[in-house]
């Protein structure tokens, strides 16, 4: 091996071939690592996005609400809606209520047991909110009601005025 190596060093063409090889390999390694890092970051971003979409979908799937009682006070145009979160996820936030297809976004949620103001309903919790429908509801009719949660779930029901 020793004489062959010396011969290689003495040969200009052989040295240039090695150097060009090394340069090309170095370039490929640098570009390769760059591409690898980029691919990993892209896949990581994709994973995060996919994860958040799946998480959002699964959380929405686990939301369940039931209307325990809906009472409309004709004299004061006051609608009180009693709800229970019987799903398996906490922090169910009611964002919009449609009464007779008219939206109402000012929802002051309260806990059924104590009347304390809350921002969302946890699993198995019961709560209520009151709104003043506009226009006021016609007495003696059946009205549709739909609530929309922050996660995008909708729950519908009807009540008699």
């Amino acid at each position: 091996m020793q004489p062959r190596f010396l011969k290689l060093l003495k040969s200009r063409r052989a040295v240039s071939a090695v150097i060009s090889n090394l340069i090309l390999i170095a370039a490929v390694i640098v570009v390769g690592f760059a591409v690898l890092a980029w691919a990993q970051s892209q896949s990581s971003n994709y994973n995060n996005q996919y994860s958040s979409v799946i998480s959002s979908d699964t959380n929405q799937l686990r939301e369940r609400m039931v209307f325990e009682y809906i009472y409309y006070d004709n004299a004061h145009n006051n609608l009180t809606v009693y709800l229970m979160n019987f799903g398996t996820i906490d922090n169910v936030n009611v964002t919009t209520v449609y009464v007779n297809n008219t939206p109402n976004s000012t929802i002051a949620l309260r806990l059924l047991s104590s009347g304390a103001s809350i921002s969302s309903l946890n699993a198995t919790q019961e709560g209520y909110f009151s709104i003043s429908p506009s226009p006021s509801l016609v007495p003696g009719t059946n009205c549709p009601i739909k609530i929309i949660t922050a996660r995008g779930s909708s729950f519908v029901g009807t009540f008699a005025t």
């Binding site: 071939a17 090695v18 060009s20 090889n21 340069i23 090309l24 390999i25 370039a27 490929v28 390694i29 570009v31 390769g32 690592f33 591409v35 690898l36 691919a39 990993q40 896949s43 990581s44 994709y46 994973n47 996919y50 994860s51 799946i54 979908d57 699964t58 799937l61 686990r62 369940r64 609400m65 039931v66 325990e68 009682y69 009472y71 009693y82 229970m84 019987f86 398996t88 059924l112 047991s113 198995t124 019961e126």
Partner: protein
């Protein structure tokens, strides 16, 4: 010898051709990139899909459990005072899953008032019956006046609304009217459509199965041993349970002879479709719950002596026991039977 030569030749060509060597390095990186993408994106996607599928399965199961929950509320709402109503009766889990009742709502349609009692935490295993009566009746604070139309419904933990059993409600009607009626005629009512009897040729031994139902409900043979099937319901205005003891009986007293005619059928124990004529028995009547009672005996000794056959006789159902902590007695005199030999 050809293979080593070929390898040597390839090595030389690689060393002399710089692009060939870097291609290998590039290929290694390509494999790494592909592996990185596959191992992270594909595996991650797979795990996320599994998570989603698991959630869908759990949610479907929860929805299925919810739809299979079957609780029958044989209850009545009665006025306690101007600010309170009481819910009496039974809650029965007819489903195959354990259920929990969390809230009771009551409403007065006339006053347009409503209120709730929560948390109830009544757990019902499959087939279990919970009696709401007396001290276990559920009170709801509700402004009301006499003869108002009261209603109630329960909420289960699975989000089901359990209304009063309509069949039961149709049979019991308005509890206030019941209270008024029962003050006049007593706390126990009989279901005439469920009055029939079973016949034996002679006094049955302990544990004898009941025969098929007699087709003639109100025609009784004086020469046979008879077991009467009577359904009674407690409609006590105060919602108290009634316990009937062995002194209760069916008594017959006829006018069709010059002598005094009588006969009795004693309250007996029937368990699992078998009769135990010699066993003492206590029957509990729960508020609003129809209960089957059996009275047995025969008029064999009286045939042709004191009881004249082929006549209609009045039956008196004599009930005695306790209601709450006090003695209670009532006679239901509304049944007649046609006596034959």
């Amino acid at each position: 010898m050809l293979a080593p030569l070929r390898l040597r030749k390839t090595r030389r060509s690689l060393i002399s051709d710089s692009r060939g060597f870097s291609s290998i390095v590039g290929a290694v990186f390509a494999v790494l990139v592909m592996f990185s993408l596959i191992s992270t994106v594909f595996v991650w996607s797979l795990s996320q899909n599994t998570l989603y599928n698991n959630t869908v399965t759990q949610t479907r199961q929860a929805d299925l459990d919810r739809s299979n929950e079957k609780i029958v509320a044989n209850v009545t709402v009665s006025r306690v005072d101007g600010n309170k109503v009481a819910v009496n009766g039974t809650l029965e889990n007819d489903g195959s899953l354990s259920a929990q009742i969390v809230t009771l709502w009551a409403a007065d349609a006339n006053q347009k008032t409503y209120n709730f009692t929560s948390p109830l935490n009544i757990t019902l295993k499959p087939g279990n019956v919970t009696t709401l009566s007396g001290s276990t009746a559920i009170n709801v604070t509700l402004a009301n006046v006499p003869e108002d139309s009261l209603s109630c419904w329960f909420i289960s933990e699975r989000g089901n609304t359990i209304s009063k059993n309509p069949y039961f409600a149709a049979n019991t009607g308005n509890s206030v009217i019941h209270a008024n009626v029962t003050q006049g005629i007593g706390s126990v009512a009989m279901d005439f459509s469920a009055f029939w009897h079973y016949d034996f040729p002679s006094s049955p031994a302990q544990g004898t199965p009941l025969p098929s139902q007699s087709p003639a409900n109100y025609t009784v043979s004086a020469s046979k041993y008879t077991v009467f099937h009577v359904v009674l319901t407690d409609f006590d205005p105060l919602g108290q349970n009634i316990t009937l003891n062995g002194n209760s009986s069916i008594y017959i007293l006829g006018p069709h002879s010059s002598t005094v005619m009588w006969g009795t059928w004693k309250l007996v124990n029937v368990t699992g479709g078998k009769i135990y004529p010699s066993s003492g028995v206590l029957y509990n009547l729960y508020m609003g719950v129809p209960t089957v009672l059996y009275f047995s005996g025969d008029l064999t000794d009286l045939t042709g002596k004191q009881i004249d056959p082929n006549h209609v006789y009045p039956l008196n159902i004599l009930l005695f026991g306790t209601k709450g902590n006090d003695d209670y007695g009532q006679n239901i005199p509304f049944v007649s039977v046609y006596l034959v030999n």
